[in-house]
Subunit: 403 residues, 2 copies
């Protein structure tokens, strides 16, 4: 049985007209003989509306009930898509996360899928039914609704594709693939036709909003045959692959900009073995994701430690760090919100020398000071002033000849 | 353990400000030591918004998915109320229908509760938690979400009160009790302090929108200690009782107006034993509720049959009746939408003569022709022109000295 998993994002189902267009697209695929599992996000704007309601009550809504609230958005869109397909005489059936046993851990707001019991879905597929699954939601072992975090519908689609051993997983979004840079920032950006899982993973973590990081991890782990394409046209999108021949010729694949960053610096921390645990333990407990970490060697037995978090976690991070002063009475805490992370990504970088130098040189000639640097095998990231992000991205895109 | 079940309607939770006011009211009750189970409807307007979305796609949305869509409204309001209570440091926990095992049949859009497994709720109550339950929803034995029909949150509250053997069940709405007539139609209407279950049941079926019919049936069956009151003030409401002494003095308790009616008349039906089955069978299959039925004795072996349905069922009823022409080629079908049903209700009617005559006399002196009549032991209903409904209601209210 050939199985195709498709995921449609919020803008693709943003109105009844768009839902009906998606229904037509799905029917075309169905008529080709594919067994279809369709994952749908909430209608665009709906998630924000629900979250705004909760935030009218409190800045920190209780996570369990936040997830119950949030998941209502996808419930609406899957029901409407099913109604649209059934109206056209096509067998379709919508399911919520708990109904198809998408079992997650209890990390509300950012839950991880532990298991998918696929029997209910395969039974429906065998009967020729199009199975529609609410994105971004699951259920913990006690029957509480959980959600997978922003962009979690990609994770739902890829996890289903992995569990069902699907022949293809197509992520439909409002752009027609992955670009060498965000076209809104870098007008010269071009679509990338093939990208490795590793590059995509780096790009997701560097602020490219095309795919959620965890969905890239999953796709890589289970080698899900993945493509990203537009639901508004029939243009061929970007295919994710293990490795691409000829790719060695390409040193850099893309430039990424992430403006959703905030930096913290702790000065005068004692150079002690349990210090890191004391700093990062309470942040991890609150599931705050630390991005870049920079630490210089100790001077006079004290160290300076800098790291970045997402803007959403800024307030809570600040509160947690202030409480460190109970142990470390002499530390100084500073932070900066108006920063951006610009990065270059490419598997070709591994075997090339001088890539970092070229990056620093390009930024230098544009009078852009570098505040922090972090590297991996296939990317280099620099923290700069947020006001200079656009100039930096365009300069790097041109300098590495991605246009 | 003393248990109090409260139900708050859509206008009571129509905004975040109102939800926070309800939270304060609930906390006051909790501090008195009551064990609280709170049933909540969707925020006012939300249910209509969701239904409008489905109707943008089709006039007849698939019922299973309609219920999935519809139930998202209550999911949002219970989550928000729980968030509001938790913010105030009060232990609270919201549950959807399936999570507290409100098991229904499979009559989507109008499901009936078969069973409530109360263990999960009593466990939470024993821990001092306020239990919040989504109104109007349940789950069938296959795990599909069902809804109980408009006003079904009352049914949820009363069913929970019955299952938990609650000491009281309070229905909070936007009026402070049951009135002798709808005050918007009859300005002289007065609040009724005590009403029998039978009277309430008749009034519900006659268009008084205070309580859903099925919730009255349930309340009567399980003798649930019920009151109806306003969530916007602390005025004593209307108490539902088995029987009231002194009530014999009162012949009529209330006047009801129902403008949500449409009439169908089938002329020239053959007088055959299976005719009624052929007419009403297909309507029942579609769960269309028939209200008044009038049939005259046969003339020339044919009969004329009239009945009323709710406006919502008008289109579908018409379609079903048209298909009768395949059996009965010579029947004539007529219908009328601009009608109203005015009724008088009262347990005292049983032992009083001349009540019907007085009603017809009052309508006659106001030049209001009566198109159909239907009676029970404790009510008399007349179908009249919709344009004359207000005049009729005021005249009856004054004529029976209810003011």
């Amino acid at each position: 049985m050939k199985i195709l998993v498709q995921k449609y994002g919020g803008t693709s189902v943003g109105s009844i007209e768009r839902i009906e267009n998606i229904a037509k697209r799905i029917i075309r695929h169905k008529k080709k003989g594919d067994n279809l599992v369709v994952v749908v996000s909430a209608m665009s704007g709906e998630t924000n509306r629900l979250i705004a309601l909760a935030h009218e009550i409190t800045d920190c809504p209780d996570p369990l009930h936040y997830d119950m609230l949030f998941s209502a958005g996808e419930q609406v869109s899957v029901a409407l898509l099913a109604i649209a397909l059934l109206k056209k005489g096509i067998k379709a059936r919508a399911f919520l996360g708990y109904q198809v046993h998408i079992i997650t851990d209890k990390t509300y707001k950012k839950a991880r899928i532990k298991l998918i019991e696929k029997e209910k879905i395969t039974k429906e597929l065998h009967q020729g039914t199009i199975v529609i699954v609410a994105g971004c939601q699951g259920v913990d072992e006690d029957g509480n609704i959980t959600t997978l975090g922003r962009g979690g519908s990609d994770t739902t689609a890829i996890a289903l594709a992995a569990a069902l051993k699907a022949d293809a997983c197509e992520i439909y979004t409002d752009v027609d693939g992955v670009y060498t840079a965000d076209p809104r920032i870098v007008p010269a950006a071009k679509k990338i036709h093939k990208l490795t899982f590793d590059e995509m993973l780096e790009m997701a973590s560097l602020g490219a909003k095309v795919l959620q990081i965890r969905s890239c991890e999953l796709a890589k782990k289970y080698r899900v045959p993945l493509s990203v394409r537009s639901s508004f046209n029939n243009v061929t999108g970007t295919f994710l692959v293990d490795e691409v021949k000829k790719m060695e010729e390409r040193v850099i694949s893309a430039v990424c900009v992430d403006k959703d960053q905030a930096r913290f610096t702790l000065s005068g921390l004692p150079f002690e073995p349990d210090m890191m645990e004391k700093v990062f333990g309470p942040l991890t407990e609150r599931t705050i994701v630390i991005d870049m970490i920079v630490q210089n060697p100790p001077v006079n037995n004290t160290i300076n430690l800098s790291f970045t978090v997402s803007q959403a976690d800024y307030k809570e991070t600040k509160k947690v760090l202030e409480s460190l002063k109970t142990y470390y009475k002499t530390i100084h805490i500073s932070d900066e919100q108006k920063i951006a992370k610009v990065s270059i990504v490419g598997v070709g970088m591994v075997s090339q020398s001088g890539v970092a130098y070229t990056m620093f040189h390009i930024l230098g000639t544009h009078d852009i000071p570098i505040k922090m640097i972090s590297t991996s095998e296939i990317k280099i990231s620099c923290i700069i002033d947020r006001a200079q992000a656009e100039v930096a991205a365009n300069a790097l895109h041109a300098g590495f000849q991605l246009g």
